[in-house]
Amino acid sequence: MEVLQLLFFGMFALVIVISALGAIFCRNIVHSIVSLVITFLSISGIFILLNADFLAITQIIIYAVGITILLIFSVMFTTTKDDNKLWLAFAPRTLLAFVVAGSLFILLIFNITNKFTDFNKNPESFIIKAPKESTIELLKEQGTTPIIGKQLLTKYVLPFEVLSILLLGVIIGAAVIAKKENNNSQER
């Protein structure tokens, strides 16, 4: 079981990293989006490994479908012929970006592993708690969905409600901004 998990994890992780890199380094924007979809899908695989089945499903629905469609639409709206020339910026910041990404990574690993000393599978910095028996039972039967649903409607009811207002705002904002104006009068 463990080996299988490790295998899956390795596979997914490899795919995630490669496709994420592909999403960034592809010259063609559509290729990028396709690459991104692969990333999203692999991430949902990771979620499944992490006992987050609901999350995995949501990931596929929102990311791999919803967002991707949005992206493709916007690509269709905006892309002109010479957009393929847009690839990577070749400016000082490109170099710095690698420095930033690299140093941030090292910093993160440095801290996660407690100054490179704690390469245990579960570093001491983080809380590790075995789930209750009842939870394991629940998980086996229904996955995490009941837990999440309960949480959303009790503990996190306020954010959940506020999220609706947020979405209202975003809808109005996005609509107003993306809407085509009929009159061509100049503003300001």
Binding site: N111, N114, K155, Y156, V157, L158, S185, E187
Partner: protein, 492 residues
């Protein structure tokens, strides 16, 4: 759980504001576009009512609501009061400006109200998720608001930059949240405090705190996450810029205060880091403001440096410091809104933004110049304005921390010279004469805009003299903040 009781004791203004939002939404789609001015009135009314409802909140102790995901203490009540007052003034500002939004006025007010709601919730949220959602409510509406002049190239550009920068920053913050969650296994702040008070978070906690703080540094436009501010302030509609530089900042600070309590095991590190960031903010803002020609950009840089001053109060991690920061925020709110009002009055009538456009305006419209000058002097910290008192009180708080913080004092003091230079540059432009190049004519009509402008300028001076109540309020509110101090110092 009695949600109604929760709302009554802790979230009355939010509830009223939500109702207003709903009403406005309905009206927005029902009303004809010509009479969308009604929404302006309604949103003002809603804000005023929720402003008054704050006084109904019991502020003498901490009230929590909705499973402790929201808590209302005196500090957050005060911050929410400031947020609402600021939003009110921002909406007042749009009175003559909103014609630029054509038929989208209703949506504009709606977005502002939603953003304000996000800010209010941010000021009171007591849960990581709540913080995140409130913050995103505020941010996303702000992005939309910045790009509200969609035919305007700079407005688009501002919104785009704001979004990209904000997205990255909030991702960084969330990353921090995830580690915080990983360290404690908790999302509720109160629980996290008590967990951290008993357990050390290891090395990871430091990095976590830094990344968490970075999201708020972005919100308050502090170094190093400040560079969006000038571009956005310049490109965004002026009321939005005013909103960003006041309301959104106050909300950011209000949330940042909540996170101060996380620094139990690393008081020194957080204190020094925040101090360093504060100084760098002040310095960066001041240095870049020196050569500005555009008054909106100038105000942006100035607000960066003002942020730094508030952060100094945080960096002290003492009640004195927090009360100094609170008092400073009050003074900043008044003076900065006054300055933005001046800019919008000027912009409404002349559509100009350069400092040189102000040349000689004092002799055309002395009231304008005087009031604007007073606001700028307050920002610079010249007596007898509230800004001077606030700076003095803040510096006093630094010194009360003892000699260990003298470096902070020295650099902050030196920076005030730089800030005086560019504020005086604006004042100089207004009062300079001899070249007879009065570029702009300004009419001063007794509208609500001008009235509130003058009222703010008068307030700047009056509060500069009658400061005691405000200092007391600031101290009282600071006492309600949870700080990682083992021993509670007593205000002398």
């Amino acid at each position: 759980m009695d949600f109604l009781l929760d709302i009554k004791t802790a979230m009355l203004p939010e509830a009223i504001l939500s109702l207003t939002i709903l009403m406005c939404t309905v009206l927005c789609f029902m009303l004809k576009q010509q009479i969308q001015k009604v929404i302006y009135i309604i949103s003002l009314l809603g804000l005023v009512i929720s402003l008054f409802s704050i006084s109904l909140l019991a502020a003498n102790k901490v009230f929590t609501a909705f499973y402790n995901s929201f808590s209302s203490d005196f500090f957050s009540v005060l911050m929410r009061f400031l947020i609402l007052a600021g939003t009110l003034l921002v909406i007042v500002m749009t009175k003559d400006y909103s014609f630029t939004f054509k038929n989208r006025q209703g949506e504009f007010y709606l977005l502002i109200l939603i953003a304000a709601l996000g800010a209010l919730l941010l000021a009171g949220s007591n849960d990581l998720i709540m913080i995140f959602i409130a913050l995103e409510t505020l941010s996303l509406c702000s992005y939309a608001l910045s790009g509200f002049l969609k035919k305007d190239k700079s407005s688009n550009e501002a919104a785009l930059k704001y979004l990209i920068f904000g997205g990255a920053a909030s991702a960084l913050m969330l990353y921090g949240f995830s580690f915080l969650y990983g360290i404690t296994g908790l999302t509720n702040l109160t629980e996290i405090f008590s967990y951290l008070a008993n357990n050390s978070g290891g090395t990871m906690l430091n990095l976590t705190l830094f990344t968490v703080i970075s999201g708020f540094l972005f919100k308050v436009a502090a170094f190093p996450f400040h560079s969006w501010a000038p571009d956005v302030y310049e490109g965004a509609p002026v009321p939005v810029a005013a909103f960003l530089s006041t309301v959104s900042k106050i909300a950011g600070f209000a949330a940042l205060v909540k996170l101060m309590g996380l620094a139990f095991n690393n008081i020194e590190i957080i204190s020094i880091t925040l101090g360093l960031i504060a100084l760098l903010s002040i310095t960066a803002g001041n240095f870049m403001a020196l050569n500005q020609m555009n008054i909106k950009r100038l105000m942006a840089y100035s607000s960066i440096s003002q942020t730094g001053f508030v952060l100094i109060g945080f960096a002290l991690l003492s009640y004195m410091g927090i009360s100094g920061a609170v008092f400073y925020l009050i003074s900043y709110l008044i003076a900065n809104l006054g300055a933005w009002l001046a800019i919008i009055i000027f912009n409404d009538q002349t559509s100009k933004n350069l400092i040189s456009d102000l040349n000689g305006i004092a002799y055309n419209n002395p009231y304008f110049a005087t009031c604007f000058g007073l606001c700028l002097l307050s920002l610079a910290g010249i007596p007898v304005t509230i800004g001077f008192m606030a700076k003095f009180y803040l510096f006093h708080a630094i010194v009360q921390m003892g000699p260990a913080y003298l470096w902070l004092l020295i650099f902050a003091l030196l920076n005030t010279i730089l800030s005086l230079f560019y504020y005086l540059k604006v004042i100089k432009a207004m009062f300079v004469c001899g070249q007879e190049s009065i570029n702009s004519k300004l009419v001063f009509n007794g509208g609500v805009l001008n009235t509130s402008f003058i009222a703010l300028a008068v307030l700047v001076v009056i509060l500069g003299i009658l400061v005691t109540p405000f200092i007391n309020i600031a101290r009282y509110s600071a006492l309600s903040v949870k700080l990682p101090i083992k021993q509670i110092e007593i205000f002398k």
